[in-house]
C-alpha cells in the first residue's frame, strides 16, 4: 500500500515518497530484463491462428484470433469474413441458441462488421435483457451483459439499457465473497479468482448499461472487493505478480488474465479511480511478458488481450524499460542502448532515462557511474549511453535506470516502476601474455626444460618428467584497461587414459601460475606412469576469447605402485562398444581318421588272396582227388548234405556281415549246427568205418 500516495491528492509528504521508492526498489529486487512484445509475437500469432479451410474453428476461437490480430496490428491475410459472418448470423437468428454462443457471435460480427439486420439485433437485445432478471449463475450474467454491451457499441440505436440495473448489480454482487473472490453461482460454494475477473467485467457492463446511475456506495463496495482480491496476489522472485486459482483446471495465466480484464473494464466504466499499488500493475505486466510466447492459441490470446487491456486502461499504463542487448562488448565499442515502450511495444511519451548508478554485481562496492542521463536517439527510439567511462572495465554490472517523464500530466497515466535494475555484461578480448610451461628440478628449483606457449592458438609441447620434478605453468591475463583479470574458469587438466586430474590455476594479480609437485601427487595419480595430455581451459562470461586448448603432453615416470595403492575408478565405456555383432564362431569338426589310399588297400587285398592261390596251386600240384567220396547213395547224400551245411554256415557268416543281426544269425546257426553235427557224424563215422575196413583188409 506504500505506493498509494502516488494517486492520492493530498499529503505528498516526503516520507511517503521515500516509502514509495523503497517499495519500487523492492519490486526489481532481482534484476531482470523483460522484453516487450515484438515481431516474434506477430509471426507466432500467424502460426497459432492459422485458419483451417477458411475458418478459425468455433466462434469463440474466431473472436480470439481476430482480437489478437487487431491488438498486434496484423492484417488478416486470409479472408474468413464470408463464412464466419454467415455462421454468426445463423446463431443470432436462432432463438434457441445458448447465450454463450450469442455472445461470441455478436463479438465476431462486431469485429468483422457483418451485416446483421437491426430488427434481428433488437430481438436479440430483448432476449438478452430478459436473462439477467432470473439468472442465477455468473456465466449467464457474464454472457448476457457482455452481449448487450457489444450490441450497444455496435449499433447504439438499439435499446439495450437495463431498467433494473441496480437489481442486477445487486444480484451479481451477492455472489462475492469476503476475500474478494466470487462464486460461480449461488448454489456453488466454491469461490474462484477467475470468477472474480468475470464478475468485475460483468459489473462494468452493468454500469455502462444502466439507465439510472448505480449508487456510488455500491461501486465503492466493489472497489473494496478489488483491493481485497489484490491482497491474494502472488509473487515470483523476479518481481512478477500473478493470481493463482485454487480450483483445478484453470492455470495462473487464464486466472490473471481474467482478473486484469475485469479490473480494467471496471476501472474504465466506474466513476473515480481504482487505487491499486503501482508495483502490482507493473508486476502483472511483467508477468505476462515473462511468459514469452505461449504455444497455445487460448493462452496467446489471454496474454495479448491482457496486455492490451493494461495498456488501454484507465488504471495506469505500465512503461517497460528494456535493453535490447545486455551484453556489451568493449572490443567492438558497443553502445549501451535502452528502449522504453509500453508492454505491446508502442512508443512511450517523451521522457528521459537516467542511469542512476551502476555497480559490480554481487559486490558492496561503491558504484562506478552515478547520475548520468542517456541521450535519446529519435531515429531508432533508443536512449543511448554514449561513452562508457573508463572506470567501467570488463565484468558483470548491475545498471540501475530511472524513467523521468517529461510531462507531469503523463505521470498520472503511466507507471514507470521507479528504478529498474538490469544486469549488464561488459565483455572484451582479454590479453594473454608470457605463457610458458616448464619442468623444474624439485630440490634445487632449477629449470630443466622450458617451453613458450602460444595460448589461444596452437600448441604441441612434449615434456618428460619424473616424480622428483615439478611442472609449472604460468601466464598473465589483463583487461583492455590493463587491470588484472580473474576468469571464472581457469582449469588445468591432466588426462591419462585411465584417469583424469583437474587443477585450478590460481593467481596473484595478473600472474597466473600452477605448480604441480609430482612427489606429492603420485598417490593422487594412482602411480600411473605414461603419457598425460595437458589441457588448459580459460573462460569467463565476459572474456570474448575464452579457449579450451590441448597444450601437448608430458611423459611421466612415476614409481611402481605399492600393493595397497588405490586404483583409479572405472571409466564409463563407450555404449557402442558394448553392443554390435560378435565375431562369428563356426564349429571345428573332428578330423576324420587318416586312411591309406584305395590302391594300397587293393594291393594288400591282392596280397591276402595270394596264400589262397598258393593253396589252390599246392592242391593241384599234390594231385588231389575225390576218390574217397562214398559211392553208396545214402553216405553220398549225407556227404553232400554235410558240405551244403558247412557252406550254409559260411554263407550265414557272409549274411551276418552284410545285413543280419546277431540274434537271427545265432538262431539260424543253432539250427544249422545241429543239422551239420548230425550229417557230419553220419558221414565221418561212415568214412572212419571204411578206412578201418581198409586197414584191417
Amino acid at each position: 500500500m506504500a505506493a498509494e500516495p502516488r494517486w492520492g491528492s493530498g499529503g505528498g509528504a516526503a516520507a511517503l515518497l521515500l516509502l514509495l521508492l523503497v517499495a519500487a526498489a523492492s519490486i526489481c529486487h532481482a534484476a531482470s530484463n523483460f522484453l516487450p512484445v515484438s515481431d516474434a509475437h506477430r509471426s507466432a500469432a500467424l502460426e497459432l491462428f492459422a485458419p483451417v479451410d477458411g475458418s478459425f474453428g468455433s466462434l469463440e476461437e474466431t473472436s480470439e484470433a481476430l482480437q489478437s490480430f487487431d491488438i498486434l496490428g496484423i492484417e488478416r491475410r486470409t479472408n474468413v469474413r464470408g463464412s464466419t459472418c454467415s455462421s454468426a448470423v445463423e446463431v443470432l437468428g436462432s432463438s434457441s441458441s445458448p447465450v454463450k454462443d450469442v455472445f461470441y457471435a455478436l463479438k465476431v460480427s462486431s469485429l468483422l462488421k457483418c451485416d446483421v439486420r437491426q430488427s434481428q439485433l433488437e430481438a436479440i437485445a430483448s432476449r438478452l435483457k430478459s436473462v439477467p432478471s432470473d439468472a442465477s449463475s455468473l456465466n449467464d450474467f457474464y454472457y448476457s451483459i457482455g452481449g448487450l454491451v457489444l450490441i450497444k457499441n455496435q449499433i447504439p440505436v438499439v435499446d439495450v439499457l437495463l431498467e433494473d440495473a441496480d437489481k442486477v448489480f445487486q444480484a451479481i454482487k451477492a455472489l462475492s465473497q469476503s476475500d474478494g473472490r466470487w462464486r460461480y453461482s449461488s448454489d456453488n460454494p466454491v469461490s474462484s479468482t477467475y470468477a472474480a475477473g468475470m464478475a468485475l467485467e460483468t459489473l462494468a457492463g452493468v454500469i455502462s448499461l444502466a439507465s439510472n446511475e448505480i449508487g456510488q456506495s455500491r461501486i465503492d463496495a466493489v472497489k473494496n472487493d478489488i483491493l481485497k482480491l489484490f491482497d491474494s496476489i502472488e509473487k515470483y522472485d523476479d518481481g512478477t505478480f500473478y493470481f493463482d486459482e485454487k480450483v483445478d483446471g484453470v492455470g495462473p495465466l487464464a486466472t490473471t488474465s481474467s482478473v486484469v480484464q475485469g479490473l480494467t473494464a471496471f476501472a474504465s466504466t466506474a466513476s473515480g479511480r481504482v487505487k491499486l499499488p503501482e508495483d502490482n500493475i507493473l508486476g502483472l505486466t511483467k508477468y505476462f511478458l515473462s511468459i514469452g510466447i505461449p504455444g497455445d492459441a487460448k493462452e496467446f490470446f489471454n496474454q495479448v488481450n491482457s496486455l492490451s487491456c493494461l495498456e488501454n486502461s484507465r488504471v495506469s499504463v505500465p512503461l517497460i524499460l528494456a535493453l535490447p542487448a545486455t551484453v556489451v562488448s568493449l572490443t567492438n565499442k558497443d553502445k549501451l542502448k535502452v528502449r522504453v515502450t509500453t508492454a505491446l511495444g508502442s512508443r512511450s511519451p517523451p521522457l528521459k532515462v537516467k542511469l542512476v548508478r551502476a555497480f559490480i554485481s554481487g559486490s558492496k562496492d561503491a558504484s562506478v557511474i552515478e547520475n548520468q542521463e542517456l541521450i535519446f536517439d529519435s531515429e531508432g527510439a533508443f536512449h543511448i549511453l554514449d561513452l562508457l567511462p573508463t572506470s567501467i572495465d570488463v565484468g558483470k554490472y548491475t545498471f540501475v535506470f530511472e524513467i523521468v517523464l517529461q510531462d507531469s500530466e503523463d505521470a498520472k497515466v503511466y507507471v514507470t516502476g521507479g528504478q529498474t535494475k538490469v544486469p549488464v555484461y561488459i565483455s572484451a578480448i582479454i590479453k594473454i601474455e608470457n605463457a610458458e610451461i616448464s619442468v623444474l628440478d624439485s630440490d634445487l628449483g632449477s629449470v630443466d626444460t622450458q617451453k613458450k606457449l602460444n595460448l589461444g592458438k596452437e600448441d604441441d609441447v612434449s615434456l618428460a618428467a619424473n616424480h622428483l620434478q615439478k611442472l609449472r605453468l604460468s601466464f598473465q591475463l589483463s583487461t583492455p584497461h590493463g587491470h588484472a583479470f580473474k576468469p571464472h574458469q581457469a582449469i588445468l587438466k591432466l588426462k591419462h587414459e585411465k584417469a583424469e586430474h583437474i587443477f585450478l590455476v590460481g593467481n596473484s594479480g595478473k600472474k597466473f601460475q600452477v605448480i604441480l609437485d609430482f612427489l606429492g601427487l603420485v598417490e593422487k595419480f594412482f602411480y600411473l606412469s605414461g603419457r598425460y595430455d595437458i589441457q588448459l581451459s580459460i573462460g569467463d562470461a565476459v572474456m570474448e576469447n575464452s579457449f579450451c586448448q590441448d597444450l601437448g603432453h608430458v611423459e611421466l615416470d612415476l614409481p611402481e605402485a605399492p600393493e595397497k595403492a588405490p586404483r583409479p575408478a572405472a571409466q564409463p565405456d563407450d555404449p557402442f562398444s558394448k553392443y554390435g555383432p560378435k565375431a562369428e564362431i563356426s564349429h571345428i569338426f573332428r578330423a576324420p581318421e587318416k586312411r591309406p589310399s584305395e590302391n594300397l588297400s587293393l594291393a594288400f587285398l591282392a596280397l591276402t588272396l595270394l596264400p589262397f592261390l598258393g593253396f589252390l596251386v599246392g592242391l593241384l600240384k599234390l594231385g588231389v582227388n575225390l576218390k574217397n567220396f562214398p559211392s553208396a547213395p545214402v553216405p553220398a547224400m549225407f556227404a553232400i548234405l554235410f558240405h551244403v551245411g558247412i557252406g550254409s554256415i559260411l554263407a550265414l557268416y557272409a549274411l551276418f556281415w552284410l545285413k543280419l543281426d546277431l540274434f537271427t544269425t545265432l538262431k539260424a546257426l543253432g539250427l544249422l549246427g545241429v543239422f551239420v553235427m548230425f550229417v557230419g557224424h553220419r558221414i565221418l563215422s561212415h568214412l572212419a568205418s571204411t578206412s578201418s575196413k581198409l586197414k584191417s583188409a
Partner: protein, 436 residues
C-alpha cells in the same frame, strides 16, 4: 432384477480396457501423467506437450504435491508413462514416492525426468537410481564459455548450444538434427557401474559445472565431456527413461528461439530442441526401436517340418521374423547384425543371419559333432533397441550303430583274408575228407 448380473458382466469385461500398458498387440492410446510444480509449466512448455498429445497421448497434468495423485489403483497402473517436470518438489502428494516411481519403472513403464537448478533431493535420488548422478552443489549450473548460444540477453554462458549428439538413428530419428540443441540447467555424470544408461547429449571438453555467481574455490566436480546433459536408460524390462538436467530445454522459448553458437558464424533460424526432444520422446514412448520376434523356425535342409532331435553333422536351416513398431504398425526390421547361436554351455556355432529385407532372417549351418542338449539362441542387443532374447531347446544325438560308414576300402585286405580263409576251409574240407 435379472439385469444386474448382466451389468456386472459388462463391467467386468470392461476392466481389461482400463489398464493401458504397452502390449505388442495394441500399443496405442497411452495415458501419461505429467507432474509439475507449477501449472505455469503447462503453458510455458506447451509446444512439447502439444507434440505429445498430437501423437495420440492423453496427458494428465497434476501438481506434484496434489494429495489426490496416484499411479495405481487396485493393483492396476492408471498410466503408461510418467513425466516429472517438477524439479523442486520435495515430496510427492498422494501415494507417490520414490519407491512407487521405481516400481512403476520396474513394471515396464516409461519415465521422463527433467531436473533443474535447485533440484530437490527427491528428484536427484530418482535420477541416481537410474544411473545419473547430478552435481551435488545445488546452485551449480553447466557453464561453457566456448559453446554457448550467442544471445544479447544472456551473458553468463549458461545457455549451452550443444551438438554432441549420440549417433543413433533409432534414438534421434533418421533425419539429422542440424541446429544445435539449447540447454540451460545442471549436468550429471553417469554411473560407470550401470551399463544400461548412456549419454544422448553430452557436453564439450570446455564445459564445467559450477555456480556461475560465485568464484571457483575448488576444482569443479564435473568437467569436460564426462558431463552428460541428457541421458537415456533402457532397463532390462525395456522400460525407457529420459533424464535431462534442464527443464527449460523443453520450453517454448527454447523451441522457438534461433541459435548461433559462439565462435561460429552460422545462425540457425530455430534451435534443434523441438526436433531433438520430439524424436527422443518417440523413442522413450516406444514409437521406435521396439522389436518383436515371431515365427522362429528350424528344420533340416530339404525338409519342411521341425524335427524333435537332430543328429550330429546334420545340415539345418534356421529362420526368425523380426518386426519393429513404428507407432502405428509393425514394420519389417532391416539390419545385418542379427546373430544366432547354437549353444550348449557356450556357443558352438555363432552365425550372422541374412535378412531378406522383409523381416525374415535366416541362415543354415551344420550341427556340430558334439551331442547333448543344445539351444538356438538369439540375443539381440543394439543401442536403442529393445533386447530380443529367444531360445529354443533342441537335443542332438550321435550316430546310430548302423549309421556309420560300411565297406571301407581300407578294410578290403581284412575282408579278402576272411573270405579267402572261408573258401579255403570249404575246399580243404573236401580235400581232407575225400582225397586219396
Amino acid at each position: 432384477m435379472a439385469r444386474s448380473p448382466l451389468i456386472l458382466v459388462a463391467l467386468i469385461s470392461l476392466i481389461p480396457l482400463l489398464c493401458h500398458s504397452f502390449s505388442p498387440e495394441t500399443p496405442t492410446g497411452r495415458r501419461i501423467l505429467v507432474l509439475v510444480d507449477d501449472l505455469a509449466v503447462k503453458s510455458s512448455q506447451s509446444l512439447y506437450f502439444k507434440s505429445l498429445s498430437s501423437r495420440g497421448y492423453e496427458l494428465d497434468f497434476k501438481l506434484a504435491d496434489d494429495p489426490k495423485i496416484a499411479l495405481q489403483r487396485y493393483g492396476q497402473y492408471l498410466y503408461d508413462g510418467l513425466v516429472l517436470f517438477c524439479p523442486t518438489v520435495e515430496r510427492f502428494g498422494g501415494s507417490i514416492d520414490q519407491a512407487a516411481i521405481l516400481d512403476f519403472v520396474d513394471s515396464g513403464h516409461d519415465l521422463i525426468i527433467a531436473a533443474d537448478v535447485q533440484s530437490s533431493d527427491l528428484i536427484r535420488e530418482i535420477a541416481t537410481e537410474c544411473g545419473a548422478d547430478f552435481d551435488e552443489d545445488p546452485a551449480a549450473m553447466v557453464i561453457d564459455h566456448i559453446n554457448y548460444a550467442v544471445s544479447e540477453n544472456e551473458g553468463d554462458h549458461t545457455v549451452i548450444a550443444s551438438d554432441n549428439l549420440i549417433k543413433s538413428d533409432v534414438i534421434l530419428g533418421s533425419s539429422k538434427i542440424e541446429a544445435p540443441v539449447l540447454f540451460q540447467g545442471i549436468g550429471h555424470s553417469l554411473n560407470p557401474a550401470n551399463s544400461l544408461v548412456f549419454k544422448v547429449l553430452s557436453a564439450s571438453p570446455a564445459t564445467y559445472s559450477a555456480n556461475p555467481k560465485s568464484k571457483l574455490s575448488s576444482p569443479p566436480a564435473l568437467t569436460g565431456s564426462a558431463i552428460s546433459l541428457v541421458s537415456v536408460m533402457q532397463a532390462r524390462n525395456n522400460a525407457r527413461i529420459l533424464i535431462s538436467g534442464s527443464l527449460s530445454m523443453f520450453s517454448n522459448r527454447f523451441f522457438r528461439s534461433g541459435v548461433q553458437k559462439a565462435q561460429s558464424s552460422t545462425k540457425h533460424e530455430k534451435s534443434g530442441n523441438e526436433q531433438f526432444l520430439t524424436e527422443i520422446s518417440k523413442w522413450v514412448f516406444h514409437e521406435r526401436g521396439h522389436l518383436k520376434a515371431v515365427n522362429v523356425k528350424h528344420h533340416k535342409v530339404g525338409e519342411e517340418d521341425e524335427p524333435a532331435v537332430y543328429r550330429i553333422k546334420d545340415d539345418l536351416e534356421y529362420s526368425v521374423e523380426i518386426y519393429e513398431w513404428s507407432g502405428s504398425s509393425w514394420e519389417p526390421y532391416v539390419a545385418d547384425d542379427v546373430q544366432v547361436q547354437f549353444y550348449m554351455m557356450s556357443p558352438y556355432v555363432l552365425k550372422t543371419l541374412t535378412s531378406d529385407k522383409k523381416g525374415v532372417y535366416s541362415t543354415s549351418f551344420k550341427v556340430p559333432d558334439v551331442y547333448g542338449v543344445f539351444q538356438f539362441k538369439v540375443e539381440y542387443e543394439k543401442l536403442g533397441y529393445t533386447t530380443l532374447s529367444l531360445s529354443k531347446q533342441i537335443p542332438v544325438r550321435p550316430f546310430k550303430h548302423n549309421e556309420y560308414e560300411r565297406f571301407i576300402p581300407a578294410a578290403y585286405p581284412y575282408y579278402g583274408a576272411a573270405f579267402s580263409m572261408m573258401v579255403g576251409f570249404f575246399l580243404f574240407s573236401f580235400v581232407h575228407l575225400y582225397s586219396k
